[in-house]
């Protein structure tokens, strides 16, 4: 076990969660709950992979992956914003729709080798001891973009005019509407942004972090973890980034712990064999649930981030909104 390696891997896999969670934060801050992240991510992973294979351009793949995620999210937008359908039901259906589309369209992609996103080193920063090689060496560009994405998203939401409008629409749409802010328009935009970022997260998996197409195993539930992360992060992009990286490190740590037969002089209880692997694979998800329980408590206590109109359709003139 080596801290640098764990941190390096954690940051890479954490980037996937970071983009998906920040996307969902934007969507939820506008008052729309989109539970279809897993579906949008898988579709993005498939689209990025297959476009890169067909065009030899991984960046075109990334672009198409974002548009695919975005397009799927617009379906959710139309159903929930325009027709005011139940957001939970629509979001769950979106997961099925996205997963189904990705599996059908991704038929035969397994084992193919498209050009991948390249890794780069950041000069100077990468020579900082211990964390330099972990954070600034052999990462895809999108990992570095991720470092900037969280603070930028935080700044945008809290310190800019469009960010203030976004928060207003998620907290009290009738107030925003009464001063001429376009509630529906804003909700569509951020639902789309959320979809694009979920698609991006998918492409990062299939073209960079753990390259390849392994049908539904490609994302293996990370979309759900991203949603849990949003609550844990109390709708704050900085906390979401931190949580994403920690989560990524944890996954790597567990992987490392499965190797040795002997750990600290005892038989390793995590040693990988066919009987125990279920529990090991389960660990991140169990931790998600635990994080959620504590996260939601904190949210309930303080008025932290939680958009009070989340999940509620807006109809002008309806009482009590």
């Amino acid at each position: 076990m080596n801290f640098t390696i764990i941190l390096h891997a954690g940051v890479a896999t954490g980037t996937v969660l970071l983009f998906a969670a920040i996307g969902e934060i934007f969507t939820e801050r506008s008052g729309i709950l989109n539970l279809g992240v897993e579906g949008m991510m898988l579709l993005g992973a498939m689209a990025g992979f297959s476009i890169s294979l067909a065009t030899e351009s991984p960046w075109l793949g990334v672009l198409v992956a974002m548009l695919a995620g975005g397009a799927l999210s617009l379906a959710h937008g139309v159903v929930t914003i325009h027709f005011q359908a139940d957001q939970v039901v629509s979001g769950l259906s979106l997961t099925f729709l996205g997963t189904g589309l990705a599996l059908v369209l991704g038929e035969g992609l397994t084992g193919q080798t498209p050009p991948l996103l390249l890794d780069y080193n950041i000069p100077l920063l990468s020579s900082i001891p211990v964390i330099g090689p972990a954070l600034f060496q052999d990462h895809g560009i999108l990992v570095y973009v991720g470092y900037l994405a969280a603070p930028l998203a935080w700044y945008y939401i809290n310190k800019t005019r469009p960010g203030m409008h976004l928060r207003a629409v998620g907290q009290k749409p009738s107030a925003a509407d009464s001063v001429g802010v376009n509630v529906y328009g804003i909700r569509y935009i951020y639902t789309f942004v959320g979809g694009c970022l979920a698609g991006l997260a998918g492409a990062i998996i299939s073209l960079s972090v753990s390259p390849g197409w392994y049908s539904s195993q490609t994302t293996s539930g990370q979309g759900w973890i991203a949603i849990a992360l949003v609550i844990f992060a109390q709708w704050n992009p900085m906390r979401a980034a931190l949580g994403g990286y920690l989560f990524g490190m944890l996954r790597r740590l567990i992987l490392d712990l499965q190797g040795p037969r002997i750990l600290l002089g005892f038989a390793n209880p995590l040693y990988i064999n066919s009987n125990y692997s279920f529990f090991l694979i389960m660990t991140p998800y169990v931790l998600t649930i635990i994080a959620l329980i504590f996260g939601s408590r904190a949210v309930a206590k303080k008025r932290a981030g939680s958009p009070s109109a989340l999940g509620l359709p807006y109809v002008r003139g309806e009482r009590g909104k």
Binding site: K159, T160, A175, A176, S178, V179, G180, G317
Partner: protein, 505 residues
């Protein structure tokens, strides 16, 4: 634009909601620089008409002229651009935003970066100009309602509104705050602005307005009448369409034994902050104890601790039996009944029928139920009987409670609570938002209960109501009882002063 061109001229406005003709060919003329009262009972269509003028609703037909120019608003932005600003009945403020953020919401400036410090300064200047003070950096949820209302007014002024619509602005204010508001309104008209002032309180209209337009069930019954020579009685007749009794008769009655006793009760509010800070009080049988106070000073928490809906420290006894921190069922078993503040979510289940709502407390008792099953035929008869006795207007007892008007829903709740023969009734704002007719009915029911020996804790923000119904009045401020007086020698100004935390010296 000459000074004789009306600021606003609405003609033949028709607005429909599913099943309701909210405005039926309504005319309204607002002159430059006047305060024009728009008077009408609840549901008369006042808010609807003004929402159309503010660009939120679109009339089916009719024309609107602003300063002589024909307008057709598609969004509130269009109305704002023509200098129209509205202070809504239910505030349109984002609770988690600061005052400044709320004022800037929807504006084109600042373009991108907020730079709140700079705008805080600008807003302070505006506050100086009109004497409307509130901390620009405070978050809305931290402010009392009076301050929130000032934010709403500042919001319209910041947008350069020349025509202000105020939808029942006094409903949430204490007497002193109402006086301040009227001063502010006067200072705004002195600066050339025109104001439409919505209210259903006659004395306020008489005190502040120049002219009045009265609406009844969507129809104009008085168009721009000068207030000179009009009495309260004339106005009430125009508004209700019949003669109105202004105060209910209260009979003399000796108070009996102590029913409710509270000693040093402390409780926290939903945010975990202290809400009740050592409340001690007693209510006797056959007595109405009125609790006066500005909203949000612990009234809700007081009602909830007694009815078992909120944890507390200290002692609460009903007829000598302790009920503090027991589940609501224990309070109910000891004869505590509750008329909650929120009729539609706490007091009733809106999607259930009248019958279901009526039997909510006795569904498991003979003859309606036996603990296992419910005899729906008997439940229906029970509900039908109460519906007739309490004169609840609804097609039948299977109608969902949510379809009832406010007054009829409140009668339903009272019918249910009274039919359980309570020893103590905790009534929170029982007449809020009801029209004159319904208020009369509810108040008579409360007095009947007093006559039959029930102890009543009446929590209200309407001083007139407290003075005419109560035997004693206690004033609550900041979670403490700051004074108590006998209703017959109570002075409305003194109570008002205690409510706002002020003292004589």
């Amino acid at each position: 634009m000459s000074s004789t061109t009306p600021a606003v001229e609405m003609k033949d406005i028709v607005i429909r909601f599913p099943g309701v003709l909210a405005n039926d060919h309504v005319n309204l003329t607002l002159r430059q620089g006047e305060i024009h009262a728009l008077l009408g009972e609840n549901g008369a269509g006042k808010s609807t008409l003004m929402n159309a003028l503010a660009g939120l609703y679109k009339p089916v037909s009719g024309t609107t002229k602003v300063n002589g120019e024909l307008v057709d608003f598609n969004s509130p932005k269009d109305a704002i651009a023509k200098g129209i600003g509205m202070v809504h009945q239910h505030f349109k403020l984002v609770p988690t935003h600061t005052v400044t953020e709320n004022i800037l919401l929807g504006m084109d400036e600042p373009r991108f970066l907020m730079n709140l410090k700079k705008y805080d300064e600008k807003i302070l200047e505006l506050e100086e100009q009109y004497g409307l003070y509130v901390d620009p950096a405070a978050k809305i949820w931290q402010l009392p309602v009076g301050a929130q209302q000032r934010v709403e007014i500042l919001k319209t002024l910041y947008r350069g509104a020349e025509i202000l619509i105020m939808d029942e602005p006094t409903a949430v204010l204490a007497p002193q705050e109402i006086d301040d508001l009227m001063v502010t309104m006067r200072s705004m008209t002195d600066q050339g602005k025109s104001i439409i002032f919505i209210s259903h309180k006659l004395h306020e209209v008489i005190a502040v307005a120049d002219r009045v337009t009265v609406l009844r069930k969507g129809i104009v019954t008085a168009h721009g009448k000068s207030l000179e020579g009009l009495t309260k009685r004339n106005l009430a007749q125009l508004m209700v369409g019949r003669d109105v009794v202004f105060s209910v008769e209260k009979e003399e009655r000796e108070a009996g034994d102590v029913v409710l006793e509270m000693k040093d009760v402390y409780a926290k509010n939903n945010k975990g902050l202290p809400a009740l800070q050592g409340i001690s009080l007693r209510v006797h049988s056959g007595e109405i104890l009125g609790i006066a106070g500005v909203g949000g000073n612990g009234q809700s928490e007081l009602a909830e601790t007694i009815t078992g809906l909120r944890e507390c420290e200290g002692l609460i006894e009903i007829n000598g039996e302790e009920i503090s921190n027991q589940p609501p069922i224990e309070a109910i078993a000891r004869g505590v009944s509750h008329i909650p503040e929120d009729r539609t979510t706490v007091g009733s289940a809106p999607s259930l029928s009248i019958t279901d709502n009526m039997i909510m407390k006795n569904y498991n008792q003979e003859p309606i139920g036996n603990g296992w099953s419910i005899n729906f035929a008997r439940a229906g008869e029970h509900a039908q009987k109460l519906k007739e006795k309490y004169n609840i207007l609804a097609p039948n007892v299977r109608t969902p409670a949510g379809k009832l008007s406010g007054g009829n829903l409140q009668k339903l709740i009272l019918a249910r609570e009274i039919s359980s023969y309570p020893r103590l009734m905790v009534a929170m704002q029982p007449t809020r938002g009801l029209d004159v007719g319904a208020i009369e009915a509810i108040q008579s029911l409360l007095l009947e209960q007093r006559q039959s020996g029930t102890a009543i804790l009446l929590i209200s923000e309407e001083l007139d109501e407290l003075l005419s119904l109560s035997d004693r009045i206690a004033v609550i401020s900041d979670g403490k009882i700051v004074g108590a007086v006998l209703a017959e020698d109570a002075d409305i100004n003194e109570i008002g002063l205690m409510m706002t935390g002020g003292t004589d010296d």
